[in-house]
Every structure is written in structure tokens, then in C-alpha cells.
Symmetry: C2
Subunit: 266 residues, 2 copies
């Protein structure tokens, strides 16, 4: 199979996963699709997330894929089974299972805290995935929607994100037997990792699913026909995608390199 | 004309306008449509906002309307002319012109600061509307996306919104000849009015478009056939609409009273 590796997210957050994928597979071709016209998924109903994810997958599929990476926690938590059924036999990799694996590998106490979007927390996907790996694990979770806004605004350091982090993390970490792992269950959150680490303190390890997801895809042994490349697609606003996305990808994106699609009409 | 007054917003923020409308016209029938599946509009492209607003207006129109109130600043700033053309001769009232009128009436110095979403600021609609009313007015503006997230999260008081307000308002107000009016150019912002007033200080008057929009609609002399009522429609998540919307409407909303529509398929 010589198709590109499709990477799909509701917006730009999944670029943190693309960054890890490119590092793990520098010679692979990637097509990244951000459904920016309909972001955020994190506050939408399960039915809407399933429909949107299906439309995005179909659009990527028409270009020929060797694998689909669902680099969006909300879509992974809610729509993964639907996508696997719809796209079989194409391999579909979500970020929830790799994230759960990273958390279980990192914990010593077996107590894991998960922060994510409202939709991901409501779906309970991380709780289920972690308990499948370690039935004795204790999982607590909280929805942290302000982190998404802070990450998109680029306010990733200083007083304001620190106070927001305190407010969200205190109920999770300020307990009698606190967790020793904080799992970032939203692809927007890695850009806030330094603030989160400072607020959580040295006894808590911060893990996210980007690196473990990339390792899982690399281990699949997909045929790779270099040179490595990325095609960027968004459903709205090439300029905003390029501007906001750069912080998540860790390198500049040229607006002219972002193709705008209409998934509703597709 | 005995149709309902249609009130349209990208989500729940427009409920601050509905609240003012009901106060001004207690015997009128209202249908409120929040396009929650595709919110926020404030970060979307102009083309998407025009398309979404047109679909929402069509859905309301099928129920029979006497008037359409576009209770969303972004849609008013970007899609109002398109809606007026499409729906003529139905009267279509936006919130930008009433907001501009409120600001011009309140200022003594002629210096007005506008805070809004990215889309509204980029469209420059408030600048144009204020200058039409007072060509000598001086208008400065800033996009404040975190305020939307804070309002939706219900963090409308205390340290965090205050620091966010400081950060956004300092460049607007901390100047040699500061404005004396701060216009809330987003229907989410009135729930933060107390914090904004505290940060802006007593020399700055806070105005929003809810009351002036309601007064404008009331002055149209539409035939009203009581008893007054509201029908709630959303494009996603009745539960979330009811829960988050209550703070904006100022009264409880029952989830069972929210009808969910699919505008994409409509």
C-alpha cells in the first residue's frame, strides 16, 4: 500500500500528534485534515461527532490512504468503532488506547487522572481503556474546556494559564491519595504541558498520547515511499489554520499550503 | 402578521438578547434557534458564517415569522445584508447597529472601545456602524475569545476572569486618551459585565446591544398575539443548551423543551 497516512482532527490540536508521527516516520507521506468549520467537537453530541468524523474520513479516503490516524481525543472516544467498521480493512488508529497505555506504563500507584474535553469525559473512553489494561487502576477525570481556548489563544505560559490549571487540577490532585500520572486527554493540551507540570508538582508525571500513538503507527510496518511530505487540509479558514496551527506543529505553516474543503457538500 | 419573532444565534449567547426582547414584549411569541452544532461562529470564515446563517434563517422561516432578530454579533457583522436580501420583505434586525447606537448615545468623549469575537473584529462592522452615526468618533477594538470560553464555563466572577479582562482591556484602555465607553460586541459578554466594569473602572461605561435591539424590535409595531411564549431549538445537544443557556437567559430551561434540528440536512 502506498497511500498517504491520513491524520484527522477537529482542528489544529491533532498537529501535536502529526509532529510526533513525522518524527517517528520522517519518510512517510501524510495528509492532515482539520475539520475547523465544525470545531470544537468536545462540546458536541455523540451523534454529531460520529457524523462529522465519518465525513472527514470519507474525504481522506478518496485520496487513497494506507492508514487513518484519528488524532482527536473526542472523535477517538466516540467515533472510533464506527470508523473501523466503515473503513475496514483499512487500519484505523485512535489516540485513546495509546494514551491509556502511556498512562498505565507511567503510573506506580495505579492512580491516574485524566483531563480532556467535555465529550471525551462524558464518553468515559479513557476510564474504560485504562481499566482494560489494568483492572485495578483508579481513574479520575475532569473536563477542562478553558485549556482549549488558552491553547488556541497562545496563552500557554504565565499567570492566567497557571491559575486556570490550579482551578481545574485541585479537585483531581488535592485529594488524600493523589494520582501520580496526569494524562492529557486532548491534543490541545500538550502546548500547556510546562504550566501543568509546574502546577501538578514533581510527584505527578504528565503523559500524552502523541508519542505512543506515533510509535504504534510506526510499528505497523506500513510501506513508506518517500520523500516525507505533509498535505494540509482544513474545512475553514486557511489563514487561521496556518497561524494557530504553527504552535501545535512546532514549525511554520504557509497559508498557501492549506487546502480548504467543504465536507458538508462532499 | 401573526408569525413568531425568530431569534437566531450561533449558540446560547443570544439568549441575553432574547431576555431583553421578552422584557420589552412580554406578550410576543418567540422561537429561538441556537446553531450549537457549528458554534462558535467567531473563529469561522465569512463564507461559512453566511452559509450557516442562511440555513438557520430558512429553518426558522418555514415556521412562519413576523421578524428575524440576528442575535449573534458575528452573523450580524458578516451575514446581515445577505439575510435581508434573501428574506425580503421580512424585517431582519441585527445587533450591530443597535449596539453602535447605544455606544454613540453613551459616549461623551467620542472614544469607543469594542470587544468582540475574532470574526466580528475582522469584519470591522462596529467601526463602520459607529462612524456612520458619528463620523468623528474614534473606535478601537480587540478580539477576546477567552471571554466566550469563560462565559460558557460559568466562570464569570473572581480572580481568573478579572486577570483575563486586565490582559484584554489594558491595550484598549491603558492609553493616553482612553475611551469612555466599552461596547460588548458579543452576546456572550454581558454575563461578564460586572468583572469588566470593575476592571475598566468608573470612568468607562459598559454598554451592550441587548436592550437597544429589543427596543428597536418593540418599536416596529409588530402584531402580537399572546400569550407570550418561547420555543427553543438547537442544532445539537439539548442538555448542554439547557444547562449552559440558563445563565444567559437568566432563568431555567428544561432540556425537554429544547427541540434538536439538523440544519445540514434541512
Amino acid at each position: 500500500m502506498s497511500g498517504a497516512i491520513g491524520v484527522f482532527d477537529s482542528g489544529v490540536g491533532g498537529l501535536t500528534v502529526l509532529r510526533a508521527l513525522r518524527k517517528a516516520m520522517p519518510d512517510a507521506r501524510f495528509t492532515y485534515l482539520g475539520d475547523t468549520a465544525r470545531l470544537p467537537y468536545g462540546t458536541k453530541s455523540a451523534a454529531s461527532v460520529v457524523r462529522y468524523a465519518g465525513q472527514a474520513a470519507d474525504a481522506l479516503l478518496r485520496q487513497g490512504l494506507s492508514c487513518l490516524v484519528v488524532a482527536c481525543n473526542t472523535a477517538s472516544a466516540i467515533a472510533l468503532e464506527d470508523l473501523r467498521t466503515r473503513l475496514a480493512p483499512l487500519p484505523v488508529v485512535g489516540v485513546v488506547e495509546p494514551g491509556a497505555r502511556a498512562a498505565v506504563a507511567a503510573t506506580r500507584s495505579g492512580r491516574i487522572a485524566v483531563i480532556a474535553t467535555e465529550g471525551t469525559v462524558r464518553a468515559g473512553a479513557y476510564d474504560a481503556a485504562i481499566r482494560r489494561l489494568d483492572p485495578a487502576a483508579s481513574v479520575t477525570s475532569a473536563a477542562c474546556p478553558l485549556f482549549v481556548a488558552l491553547a488556541e489563544e497562545g496563552w500557554t505560559d504565565g499567570d492566567i494559564p497557571e491559575r486556570v490549571a490550579h482551578r481545574y487540577l485541585e479537585p483531581l490532585l488535592g485529594v488524600a491519595t493523589p494520582p501520580d500520572v496526569l494524562l492529557l486527554g486532548c491534543t490541545h493540551f500538550p502546548v500547556l504541558a510546562q504550566v501543568l507540570a509546574r502546577v501538578a508538582g514533581p510527584a505527578v508525571r504528565i503523559v500524552d498520547s502523541a508519542a505512543t500513538t506515533a510509535a504504534e503507527v510506526a510499528a505497523m510496518g506500513l510501506a513508506v515511499s518517500g520523500p516525507g511530505s505533509v498535505r494540509f487540509e482544513a474545512t475553514d479558514g486557511a489563514g487561521r489554520f496556518a497561524r494557530v496551527g504553527a504552535a501545535f506543529l512546532g514549525e511554520a505553516i504557509r497559508e498557501a499550503d492549506v487546502t480548504v474543503l467543504d465536507l458538508g457538500a462532499a
